[in-house]
Amino acid sequence: MRRFLRSGHDPARERLKRDLFQFNKTVEHGFPHQPSALGYSPALRILAIGTRSGAVKLYGAPGVEFMGLHRENNAVVQIHFLPGQCQLVTLLDDNSLHLWSLKAKGGVSELQEDESFTLRGPPGAAPSATQITVVLPHSSSKTLYLGTESGSVFAVQVPGFRPLEDRTISSDAVLQRLPEEARQRRVFEMVEALQEHPRDPNQVLIGYSRGLIVIWDLRGSRVLCHFLCSQQLDSVCWQRDGRLIVSCHSDGSYCQWPVNPDTQQGEPLRSCVPYGPFPCKAITKIFWLTTKQGLPFTIFQGGMPRASYGDRHCISVVHDGQQTAFDFTSRVIDFTVLREADPAAAFDDPSALVVLAEEELVVLDLRTAGWPPVQPPYLASLHCSAITCSHHVSNIPLKLWERIIAAGSWQNTHFSAMEWPVDGGTSLAPTPPQRDLLLTGHEDGTVRFWDASGVCLRLLYKLSTVPVFLTDSDPGEHLHAQGEDEWPPLRKVGSFDPYSDDPRLGIQKIFLCKYSGYLAVAGTAGQVLVLELNDEEAEHAVEQAEADLLQDQEGYRWKGHERLCARPGPVRFEPGFQPFVLVQCQPPAVVTSLALHSEWRLVAFGTSHGFGLFDHQQRRQVFVKCTLHPSDQLALEGPLSRVKSLKKSLRQSFRRMRRSRVSKRRPAGSPGEVPGRSGRAERTGLQNMELAPVQRKIEARTAEDSFTGFVRTLYFADTYLRDSSRHCPSLWAGTNGGTVYAFALHVPPAERRTDEPVRAEQVKEIQLMHRAPVVGILVLDGHSVPLPEPLEVAHDLSKSPDMQGSHQLLVVSEEQFKVFTLPKVSARLKLKLTALEGSRVRRVSVAHFGSCRAEDYGEHHLAVLTNLGDIQVVSLPLLRPQVRYSCIRREDVSGIASCVFTKHGQGFYLISPSEFERFSLSTKWLVEPRCLVDSAETKHHNRPRNGSGPEKALGRARNSGSQSDGEEKRPDPVMAHALLSDERVLKEIQSTLEGDRGSYGDWRSQQVAMRYGLSKGEAK
């Protein structure tokens, strides 16, 4: 505590800290966890996704993203954009409606909730009377029609959510106005479908679940037509010209009904069960879309034969004799079809099918033959296979970047060439200042390369390590091949595949050298692969070596999994990163640390048994070191011992549960002892605590503890290890038991590198007395600046380190930070974290913090994440705590474990299996969405196009005088003008952006300075 107070005294430092540090959570990358609703605005060309936790996310053109969160943590059931408005209505599962709007503030749009509303029935009515099943935003944008479980349709005025009681369409009213022969009470029940006539806003279609469909005249309050289906109704689609209705049913059939108010139809025009004749599942949603060519598109969800394919999640597209059932790997939440937005157009001409599945978003190009998928620029499914580790590389050289993209383009040939069709809004965010890569390792043995420079996290390239190994089965490609004459015509789409062939393939550590293109990847079964970037396809054998980390330790038996079998002989590798060396650790325990030095051509790896160094130039092992304590048997049991402890903890929790059930019956305390709600909550909290008598052992760590030999960190440094006159390459390793080993390396000069062996010699061993796990090792040069990365100096991207002054060694354990002198290791400084606060270091990384006010000023500090989810900045080299922010909930263990820092004070952590939250500690480096959705423009130009068709224009006197007939007839110039002005605005914005913002940093500093000035001004 005192440290914080003391360091806080200097006002100049405080000011500087404000210029350097600032905490923001900026973007959520990836696919929303547990999506529950989909909405699309054809006018704004913006997609909305609601989630089970009450979040609403809007996506437009790449970079245009908004996120809102309902105060209630209820699932979003439906999302509807108000036609032509920058407004949307959400329906939650607690039956409340919420109105959101995009409002421009300071040139940037913001999503905010305006109001909420819960439909109230007459007093005494059953709750189902007001349970909303369907929402229809009327094209007038003033009224919402709400279909309910009781069969009534209520009207509510928006904004304001004022119920319009006189416009309620009760089922009784409908019944009375039906012709005699159709008057059966049983045909009503809940409203399943509610649609406005595509051309006449005075007609709405109401579909009841028992099979009755009526077309209701809003002005005349009468039934224009009615259709009686024999099956339960699921959904209805109105053809674009309003002359045909297509209904779909729970038995897997759909029917077409011609709309003709004069002749009442008793039977459908056509009825069809697409996957009959055996019983089929319901078709839950259907689109009937017309094309210029004449043949319509029929797109429907479900309807698969119940017995054989009832468990598939399918959407079928039928057009012109072709039929494909797109088979999704996860449940389909909802789908929509992008089509001609102008209601005046005669045909739908669908362009793309947008499907929101439980785990991914799939967009299919309907204009290209074969309906190929379109690669989304965002909403990537990070978790197509579970993420096992991540690695961030900042500031990628352009050359490497282009090569990775080129390698990725080879893999993306199956994607459609179509432009991303959801392109509403304008992104105003400056172009990212540098190219950043985020590498994620996955359970299925793949490494994915993501473009993490900007707001959109885009997949660039996917590397699979699987071809190196012999696995049980080759991927079942033949399944697709034989689908030619198969019925139903299934086709797998999407990338989500949670099943891994072999858990041993899982990637655990990744290390990429951005200058040389060398990549090291290590996995669950002790495999370490060194890969090289190759632009050509190649076929070669992977050289194999074995590293026996136990060396001569006797009497151990590895009880864990076996090593993976490498594929013998040459293997064909596609362009990209191609493995050339495989080092197999023995025993094949999971690799816990990895370091690559591309200049010295060395790779170091560690497991729970020890660590080794491999020369990948000469393909030769340099040395191995066993770190295992002789008494540590647990380390050898391997991952299987987890099963035992799991069993034990299960048993314990069952016992606790039983005990808690018993004691719950006991009356809790005398009532009225603690008044108020908080008292009650507290009491229940306390009671829970009593019921869970968890106890913790207080014991100092000893050398005999389990897993002390676990190698936590490896580090290469060129420093003064032996004496203060000569520096040499060195390898440092830190273990779970608080031991640091230092090896001096002799790396032969370049001309003799291939002949002379690399030699290593242990020079130092430091045992930290507190024995806490060592999580980071770092050497600071004579100016107390961290040593640069290998090849960084060679590429002129860093000043060469100061070799005059004395170097210092920083050892970060879970409990303390400690600075030692070099070469004689004597303690100089330390900062205790656990002893004073009870928090432990989980992740530590050096970051460069630039000042937002002075372009060239920056400091190197440590970014630290603790087990409590706090993020702290600790200064170098004096180890003074600078700032502290709480970032992740302390219960969110996987979030804390997944955190990765960048070199410039940003970071990522998983907020769900499929989403990375990006945060920033820096004032200067801040990647966040800044975008504009122009409501004014849409109001002026899109609304009339969108809201009303020609029939409306003819049938009703238009009260908006500004839009004359002439304009209506010649929409093109107007639109051209709109586009033009839009473009001009855009250009203006861009030029201003480029003009006075010479660089990104500059721009940020201006922003901050402005904000700063403003706040100061207010203070005055």
Binding site: M1, R2, V674, E682, R683, G685, L686, M689, E690, A692, P693, V694, Q695, R696, K697, I698, E699, A700, R701, Q762, V763, K764, E765, I766, Q767, L768, M769, H770, A772, E815, Q816, K818, V825, S826, A827, K830, K832, T834, A835, L836, E837, G838, S839, R840, L868, R890
Partner: protein, 388 residues
């Protein structure tokens, strides 16, 4: 029992202006008196002391026990005056040969040993590390002590566990629980951390100073209120080399008493919350609390071991000085069982760490029930004082 007796005794001393001095050199006592109002100069006092002890040829340092039982030096006029004026009622003076004082020999243990450096009873610089005596142990190694009795509320106890080179496990478990506090609006239940189990034969049990269901209030000077069980566990383990736990003992009968007030047996007083809040104000740096000296690299913990050069693990020159606290005490106390635990507890912290003892003596309380909690060794040594 004979409380009325001490009171009259105490009163007897208050009404005279002379200060009784009891001067001790080795095992010898000398008694004389000084004028409370005009104590005179330090030089004269020094001569007087040297003279009365017949050690005129030896260089000595003089110290006295202050009201808190801490050993403070007398080496100039100011602290001499302070010593005399604060004598209550007896001024207890300790004389040491200068060489002995430098080796940190006989006198200093417990919390005093920490302050020794700052206060420098000895006048020379830091102790030379090479000066390691090998031979018969001068002293026993402390395993635990009660510290800061003077600044804590009587219902609380601050226990220090020494683990230097000790093979014994710390040996206790903690759990979540509910604590009752006195709040302005009445009794209030708050979550707290409690000792849940003692490992038989462990360090914690052998000291007899901690017990099951004692509430943990602080760990090395940091309050645990608002911290989770895991956090407190981590804090304790991180401090395990020198763990100082402040507890509110479940059994309040054995509290250390002071100021002539006897703690009424069963429960904490109503002043509890007030007292603890007073205390928490001092929490960041309570005097004499080692956590306050956390910046001090060398003193509070053993340094890390660095092995240089060859791979053979040989004892490095920078191995920690053994038994840091006791000053050259190499012997391990391998007492086992509760009886020897009590005994050992007394032996290792022979006198000054048990400030309570001084206080007991100075207030002339000889309640046998309380002295039972005292180590027998301590009572023995101060036998004459008790019979005074």
């Amino acid at each position: 029992m004979n409380r009325s007796f001490h009171k009259s005794q105490t009163l007897r001393f208050y009404d005279c202006s002379a200060v009784e001095v009891k001067s001790k050199f080795g095992a010898e006592f000398r008694r004389f008196s000084l004028d409370r109002q005009k104590p005179g100069k330090f030089e004269d006092f020094y001569q007087l002391v040297v003279h009365t002890h017949h050690i005129a040829n030896t260089e000595v340092t003089i110290g006295y026990a202050d009201v808190h039982g801490d050993l403070l030096p007398i080496n100039n006029d100011d602290n001499f005056c302070k010593a005399v004026s604060s004598a209550n009622p007896l001024l207890r003076v300790f004389i040491q040969k200068r060489e002995e004082a430098e080796h940190g020999g006989g006198l200093a243990t417990g919390s005093l040993s920490r302050r020794k450096k700052a206060l420098a009873l000895r006048e020379e610089g830091p102790r030379r590390r090479a000066h390691l005596h090998i031979g018969l142990p001068h002293d026993f190694r402390p395993v635990s002590s009660i510290i800061d009795v003077d600044i804590l509320p009587e219902t609380h106890r601050r226990v220090r566990l020494y683990r230097h080179g000790c093979q014994k496990p710390l040996g206790f478990y903690i759990r979540d629980g509910v604590s009752v506090r006195v709040a302005p609006q009445g009794l209030e239940k708050v979550p707290g951390i409690f000792i849940s189990r003692m490992v038989p034969g462990g360090l914690a049990e052998s000291t007899g100073l901690l017990a099951v269901d004692d509430e943990v209030l602080e760990v090395n000077g940091i309050e645990v209120a608002g911290k989770t069980l895991d956090q407190v566990t981590d804090m304790m383990i991180a401090n395990s080399h020198n763990l100082i736990v402040t507890v509110k003992p479940a059994n309040q009968r054995n509290n250390v008493l002071r100021g002539g007030r006897a703690a009424s047996g069963s429960s904490g007083r109503s002043s509890d919350s007030a007292a603890s809040s007073r205390h928490s104000l001092q929490a960041p740096a309570p005097p004499g609390l080692p956590a306050a000296a956390a910046d001090d690299m060398e003193s509070d913990e053993e340094p890390d071991v660095v092995l240089e050069g060859d791979l053979e693990p040989r004892a490095a020159p920078r191995l920690p000085p053994p038994g840091g606290g006791g000053g050259g005490g190499l012997t391990r106390l391998n007492g086992s069982g509760p009886a020897s635990g009590l005994h050992g507890g007394g032996a290792q912290s022979r006198e000054s760490s048990l400030h309570s003892l001084h206080r007991l003596i100075s207030s002339l309380r000889s309640d046998p029930r309380h002295s039972l909690a005292l180590p027998p060794g301590g009572v023995e040594e101060h036998g004459p004082a008790v019979t005074l």
